[in-house]
């Protein structure tokens, strides 16, 4: 079967699954207190003293030890994903059961890695691994998808990234195997609620990544970018034609063209891009799985889940929990108050400002009914106050924790802390970078 026929078959199967889910939309309906939260964090197994095959061995040992429910391999050969099952947070138990589970899984992974005298890398990029022909996990999807992106890359697309002087060549789609993110999966009350949460997440995500940027270095080079991960992903996966660009079509990575109108609109966008993989039975999962928006909606059984993907892995799992709380609380606040969405063009600016400049950036925010452009540390104070209010509305009081968290983060993103530990060096030696990562607890 040729590629065109396969794509057609996938598209038809995708539409069929979507239609069925929309027809049965009642099965996604539940009360807020019945929805669940799950966390995922990608981490690297890396140690300067070890060979690639040794690190691969340790990675696989961790996955085996934690078990399939809590861990899985990722595209990068030295990468794994730790994840919690969906856990109830809104039914009175608060965040503690989720936090405990997440920390337990992380502790097992760290214990296993120490057993092998190796280390875990907790930042958004692995700055030691080469970008071109980087080692990938041997799975069909990890071969076909990056190869497709490389073959169909937009003609003339800029494949160098950096704003500080040095530029890094990012012209291989396997670059995503160097990237590690922390993701929050928030169950929605219905398909409509999922779209509402998705739009609010697109709006509020940039403020969080502004302070949480943690991926600045690639191939031992300082790109000067607070969080290079998503920007490099976008560029290396840009398969648009010149005509697409002229019409304002965006890639399937990052921000869409506008807010989503409804669930049909969301699935319609997913269907616009090639499926690449051929698996009609799971056409919907494949389509959504390759739709790498900053936030996306996943359908898991009878649950519509909003997955926030914008944050890189943080050095401490406790801080990741704080980010998760900030995200969840902020969305609840927006829903409770039927908050007016920020004009999408302002979200575009906020996002780029946060990704490029971190806490040095300025962002637009609506405050007291007025739109204003303020430094990101000022905006995040407002955002966190709203998140605290949102959490309180469901009986979760995390005022102290989020207050302490924001006081630490608002002036320095992890990227900025790492750059300072390297005294601003643009091309640190491997050992220098390693030592800086150790001193900032990004290597454990």
């Amino acid at each position: 079967m040729n590629a065109r026929v396969k794509e057609k078959e996938m598209l038809s199967a995708f539409h069929e699954k979507v239609k069925k889910n929309i027809e049965e939309k009642e099965r996604f309906i539940r009360k807020r207190e019945e929805t669940m939260i799950g966390l995922e964090s990608e981490i690297g197994v890396f140690d300067l003293r070890h060979t690639e095959s040794e690190m691969l061995f340790v990675r696989d040992a961790i996955v085996k030890r934690v078990g399939n429910e809590g861990a899985d391999v990722e595209l990068g050969a030295f990468q794994l994903e730790l994840r919690t099952p969906p856990i109830s947070v809104f039914s009175g138990g608060g965040i503690l059961p989720l936090e405990k589970k997440y920390k337990d899984i992380t502790a097992v992974a760290v214990e296993e890695v120490k057993k092998h005298d190796s280390s875990i890398l907790r930042c958004g990029t692995n700055p030691f691994v080469r970008i071109h022909d980087t080692p990938r996990t041997k799975k069909e999807k990890y071969t076909e998808v990056p190869n497709f992106q490389n073959i169909h890359r937009r003609k003339f697309a800029e494949m160098h990234i950096g704003i500080n002087g040095p530029n890094v060549d990012i012209g291989d789609a396997s670059i995503v195997s160097l990237f590690q993110s922390f993701q929050v999966n928030m169950g929605a009350c219905s398909l409509d609620d999922a779209v509402t949460l998705l739009n609010y997440a697109l709006m509020t995500g940039p403020y969080l990544v502004g302070i949480g940027g943690n991926s600045r270095y690639l191939e031992c080079t300082d790109t000067g970018i607070n969080d290079v991960r998503i920007l490099a992903w976008e560029a290396s996966h840009d398969t648009r034609t010149a005509h697409d660009v002229m019409r304002g079509t965006k890639t399937r990575i990052g921000l869409p063209e506008r807010y989503f109108l409804n669930i049909e609109d969301y699935f319609g966008r997913v269907a616009r891009y090639p499926f690449i993989l051929h698996n009609p039975e799971f056409a919907m999962q494949v389509g959504i799985g390759l739709h790498w928006l900053d936030t996306r909606i996943k359908i898991i059984g009878d649950a519509a889940v909003v997955e926030f993907r914008m944050l890189p892995t943080q050095q401490k799992s406790a801080d990741e929990i704080s980010f998760a709380l900030a995200f969840i609380g902020r969305l609840l606040y927006a829903v409770d108050n039927k908050e007016e969405l920020l004009p999408f063009e302002l979200v575009k600016e906020n996002r780029l400002s946060a990704l490029l400049y971190g806490t040095r950036g300025n962002v637009w925010i609506r405050d007291g009914g007025l739109l204003k452009r303020v430094p990101i540390d000022e905006a995040i104070e407002i955002e966190i106050a709203r998140a605290i209010q949102g959490l309180c509305s469901i009986g979760i009081d995390e005022c102290d924790r989020l207050g302490e968290f924001i006081a630490r983060y608002k002036k320095n993103s992890p990227s900025e802390i790492l750059a300072r530990a390297l005294s601003g060096k643009k091309y640190p030696e491997r050992e220098e970078l390693w030592n800086a990562l150790v001193s900032t607890r990004m290597v454990q």
Binding site: I163, I225, L231, V245, G248, E345, L346, K348, S353
Partner: protein, 253 residues
């Protein structure tokens, strides 16, 4: 009569800015009913942002990015300028409109500046109308010396048709009006600095290189300026034009 040295001294070539890109983007002011508003002066006093400036037509305003050596910050500047402009315009009940060719019956009010008044005194109404009706996007490529400027200029000039094609959203209407307004619009192939000076002398822009209206020109800012692109609301499209220019000029830098 100017000397070659005096002529060339007007150009601020800078090795430090070599390869930097700057973008100027012209747009119209309209009201909620879709009528052109000759309110550029009012808009500029409202926005108070040095990245925004005037054009000959009082219905037009222009924003400029800072010179950038990377496309991400260039894109950020484009988005930011637009947002700033949109909100400043709103305060005067106006809108920033991306339109490549304005209606023939648009107001011909000119921004109150002596230089513009002099221009108007010396051109026909048809040429004034043509000048007022077109909006474009100008891309500046920083160059380190006159020799490099000539090399980059010649490559861009050789690709003029292709560049017009990728930047056109008005089926050629904008470029036809531009040619009518500019008179000498076609960029020659300069053999060397001497030839550049000779051309400037013959075409009367040696005293003031801003009077060169070629679609590709060497500007006093030390850049090669490509003026053939139309206007677009999509920043990615402008970035695509820049990528295209980088591609074709890469071999002569």
């Amino acid at each position: 009569m100017n000397t070659k040295e005096k002529f060339l001294s007007q150009f601020a070539f800078s090795r430090a800015m070599n390869g930097y890109i700057g973008i100027e983007r012209e747009r119209f002011l309209k009201n909620a009913e879709g009528l052109y508003m000759p309110h550029a002066e009012k808009f500029l006093s409202e926005i108070k942002d040095p990245h925004w400036t005037h054009e000959l037509s009082a219905c037009q305003v222009e924003d400029r990015t800072d010179p950038r050596n990377n496309l991400l910050e260039l894109k950020y500047d484009l988005i930011h300028n637009t947002n700033n402009g949109v909100y400043a315009a709103e305060k005067n009940s106006a809108k920033i409109i991306t339109e490549e060719v304005a209606a023939r019956d648009m107001p011909l009010d000119v921004f109150p500046l002596e230089r513009y008044k002099n221009i108007v005194r010396n051109i026909t109404e048809d040429r004034l109308r043509a000048a007022c009706r077109v909006a474009g996007t100008h891309i500046h490529i920083g160059v380190g010396s006159v020799d490099e400027a000539i090399r980059v200029h010649n490559v861009c000039a050789a690709h003029t048709s292709e560049l017009i094609h990728i930047g056109d959203h008005s089926s050629g209407a904008r470029i036809a009006l531009y040619k009518e307004m500019a008179g000498q619009w076609k960029s020659p192939q300069y053999e060397n600095a001497e030839h550049f000076f000779e051309t400037a002398t013959v075409e009367n822009f040696s005293d003031d290189p801003k009077h060169c209206y070629h679609l590709v020109r060497i500007s006093i800012h030390g850049t090669v300026e490509c003026r053939m692109f139309g206007v677009t609301p999509h920043e990615d499209e402008i970035i695509y034009w820049v990528e295209f220019l980088k591609q074709i000029t890469g071999g002569v830098r």
